[in-house]
């Protein structure tokens, strides 16, 4: 965790550089392990803010929460059965100089799938593994539900803040009022102090709740990672289908060439227009085709392996992810309940105290 600690030097500049390095690490992992649901990074910019909370990315609270998020990211990666063995990760953690160069040397950026290809695959692929399609659908749901929840929670927090702060006005007015009363004065005055305390208490309460929101956000971002694995499946499957299709058409061409009846081809037309080609030319073409077919068969074999391996490994990791998600989110919900209970206890305390003061009025 030294890497994280070192990155947290006071100057915000160094933090931003560090964040981009985390981004680089993650990009590398995503490309290198497309069958793994790679842990997400914490948000770069504050989102889902309720209005009193600072949306300023330089706000110390936000910076701190993001630091915690980055730490969490590393923990997840370092404890992942597959990712933890990665050499680049090791370099990142041991803070060797020239880490960036090492990453670039892997040439991972060239291996990255173009978005266009990926999108095309999604639309044109024919036979996808049902489990992956279900998982993809689930990832959409997860994303939509968590973001709705986060939005609603932020609005609730906003309103709750308003309620608490208005009570602070009681503090001021009671204090002024107590000045003109005799018997009621002391009771009013001290009740006013409790109202001030009540109003002030919301800041800590909501700050704590942000941690809960962060836990949910992690899984909001995880949804994207999950979807990426499913898309990779679509892509490998699509590429396999393309390769198979290509092989079939090449074989068909050879068939036609061998039997001498090319149905609908350019060569066939030129034959008709300019006369038959010479037998040597035909031989040359056949030979070329045979080579292409051999290549094609290799490609199909490779693609099949790639596809099957991806399915196998991805399925394992998606299971692992699901278990982790259920466990983590259940814990988060429990923690949320604990927070609510703590808030209720504070409320009971304040209003019991206020009641005591009113009794003295």
């Amino acid at each position: 965790m030294d890497a994280v600690a070192e990155g947290r030097n006071p100057a915000p500049d160094s933090l931003w550089r560090r964040y981009s390095e985390f981004e680089l690490l993650r990009s590398y992992l995503v490309v290198t392990y497309p069958y793994i649901v790679v842990p997400p990074l914490p948000e770069k910019r504050a989102e889902f803010v309720w209005h009193k909370l600072s949306a300023d990315n330089m706000d110390p609270d936000f910076v701190e929460r993001r630091r915690v998020g980055l730490e969490n990211f590393l923990l997840r990666v370092a404890s992942h059965p597959v990712l933890s063995n990665d050499k680049i990760l090791y370099h990142f953690l041991t803070e060797e100089h020239g880490w960036k160069e090492v990453v670039y040397e892997t040439g991972f950026q060239a291996k990255a799938d173009s978005r266009l290809r990926a999108l095309s695959a999604t639309f044109r692929v024919r036979n996808t593994d049902k489990r992956f399609m279900d998982m993809k659908h689930y990832s959409d749901e997860l994303q939509s539900h968590t973001s709705q929840l986060l939005r609603a929670r932020a609005r609730v927090a906003d309103r709750l803040y308003g309620v608490f702060k208005v009570h602070g006005n009681y503090g001021r007015v009671f204090s002024e009022w107590s000045a003109i009363e005799k018997e009621m004065g002391d009771g009013l005055q001290s009740a006013g102090h409790h109202m001030d305390a009540y109003a002030a208490s919301i800041d800590d309460i909501l700050e704590e709740e942000e941690h809960y929101a962060d836990q949910l956000k992690e899984y909001l971002f995880y949804a994207e990672a999950l979807r990426a694995v499913c898309r990779k499946h679509e892509l490998t499957q699509f590429e396999l289908e393309m390769a198979s299709q290509d092989l079939i058409s090449k074989k068909q061409q050879r068939e036609e060439l061998a039997t001498g009846c090319e149905r609908f081809s350019f060569k066939g037309m030129t034959n008709k227009l300019f006369g038959q080609e010479a037998p040597e030319q035909r031989e040359a073409r056949l030979k070329l085709l045979e080579e292409l077919i051999a290549e094609g068969e290799e490609a199909v074999k490779e693609k099949t392996v790639e596809c099957e391996e991806h399915v196998e490994r991805a399925w394992v990791d998606m299971q692992r992810f699901e278990e982790q998600k259920d466990k983590d989110l259940r814990e988060a919900l429990i923690n949320y309940a604990v927070m609510q209970i703590s808030m209720c206890k504070k409320g009971i305390q304040v209003w019991s105290n206020a009641k005591e003061c009113f009794l003295k009025m």
Partner: protein
């Protein structure tokens, strides 16, 4: 007499009680189960808190010896060719000897209450007569009343009569007796100083206030200052409370949207569905409690504060009237001094009369002032205590909701494991 019950549906003519400052909302927890009157004096509420100060003891004795019980209930719509208004039933049970019977039932409308109060103020200009709920200011609507408005007004009228009945002087007023007992009030209303004479009084009062007061006794100056300050403070507390209710309502609205997001999410989960639904239930439970808390504020604290906002205005009026009485005396006294001794005798009697009047007025106010202060302290104290108690109750109930969720989560994992073993 039309026996129509108040129609339930006044849709389209909803009053916005929150915003209309001319409307005040009165209520004390005076739910009437079977129509029998419930003693609801401040002193009976003091009993609940077992205070041992002398002044409270004195009021306790009042409660024990209370000999007149009044209820206002059963609002009914009354339709004539000219107008529609609400009639309330006023039920009186008493053991007082001045009353021929021990039980009376009459029907009164808001105007009748206004009449009673103005009579009481006329006869006792420097006594503090409890205020009535305000007239409804029509916002260009034909049908004036919905159920909530009628109910709040009814509670306030009930409170008004009870406050009068507890007043050591006012409760023995002839007008009060007539109000409670006469089947037809119209004939009684016609008696007494007419409109013109009342106008004359007002003109004199204005003239006097323009003259200015020579030397107001110190204690009344202090009283005046207090009334000014109190009025400001009570208005502020009232505004803050209204604001809190507004914020709470908006919070409640968001809560109602928040809970379902957990339920919706649960729809696409398996193992996680149960805890998600659990949280949804908790949020729902807290929403209900919030609703109740808002209602409590509206029914207990807001009316009590409003009542004293009006009282502050009453106090200002009382102080003005006292000043006028003194001013009148001073004016005549000066006129007397500027006359030649031969002409003084006739005027002297009048001046003496006015001097007596001043002394009576001052003493009446002094006596009623301390009584009012005690009443104010008791009423507001109990309203604040009740609010604090409700808030504690609110948090306790929410706490229980979340704790039961935690409990369910502790039990589940082992149950889940058992379930898996079985399958």
């Amino acid at each position: 007499m039309s026996g129509q019950t108040v129609p339930a549906d006044f849709s389209g003519h909803m009053l916005d009680l929150d915003e209309d400052e001319d409307l005040e909302v009165f209520s004390k927890n005076t739910s009437l189960a079977d129509g029998s009157p419930m003693p609801n004096s401040p002193s009976s509420m003091v009993n609940q808190y077992r205070l041992e100060e002398d002044e409270e003891e004195e009021q306790q004795q009042d409660a024990d010896t209370k000999d007149i019980f009044i209820t206002v209930d059963n609002p009914e719509s009354h339709v004539t060719a000219i107008e529609t208004f609400i009639m309330y039933r006023v039920l009186t049970k008493t053991t007082r000897s001045e009353f021929d019977s021990s039980e009376y039932e009459v029907r009164r409308r808001y105007q009748d209450f206004l009449w009673l109060r103005s009579r009481l103020e006329e006869n006792h200009p420097t006594l503090i007569v409890h205020p009535l709920p305000e007239k409804f200011v029509m916002k260009g609507m034909v049908e004036r009343f919905n159920d909530d408005f009628i109910e709040t007004r009814r509670k306030a009228l009930h409170r008004f009569l009870n406050k009068i009945s507890e007043h050591p002087i006012l409760s023995y007023s002839q007008h009060f007796k007539v109000f409670l007992t006469a089947q037809e009030l119209t004939s009684h209303k016609k008696q007494g100083p007419g409109f013109l004479s009342r106008m004359g009084e007002t003109v004199r009062a204005v003239a006097n206030s323009v003259r200015g007061l020579r030397n107001r006794p110190e204690e009344f100056t202090l009283m005046q200052e207090y009334v000014e300050d109190f009025s400001n403070k009570i208005c502020s507390v009232d505004k803050v409370t209204q604001r809190i209710i507004k914020e709470q309502r908006e919070y409640l609205d968001e809560l109602k949207q928040y809970g379902p997001t957990y339920t919706q999410w649960a729809g696409s989960e398996e193992d996680l569905a149960e805890p998600l639904k659990g949280v949804a239930r908790c949020v729902e439970g807290c929403s209900k409690e919030t609703e109740e808390q808002i209602q409590h504020l509206s029914e207990v604290l807001v009316p009590a504060l409003h009542e004293y906002v009006l009282c502050a205005e009453t106090l200002k009026a009382v102080m003005r009237r006292r000043d006028n009485i003194q001013a009148e005396f001073e004016a005549k006294n000066e006129a007397l001094a500027s006359r030649k001794p031969e002409n003084q005798e006739a005027l002297q009697e009048e001046v003496d009369g006015l001097a007596d009047r001043v002394e009576l007025a001052n003493n009446a106010l002094k006596g009623d002032w301390s009584r009012w202060q005690k009443g104010m302290r008791t009423d507001l104290k109990s309203a604040f205590i009740s609010t604090a108690e409700k808030n504690v109750d609110y948090y306790e109930k929410c706490l229980a909701v979340w704790e039961s969720f935690l409990l369910s989560q502790r039990v589940e994992p082992s149950e889940q494991r058992d379930g898996e073993d079985v399958s």
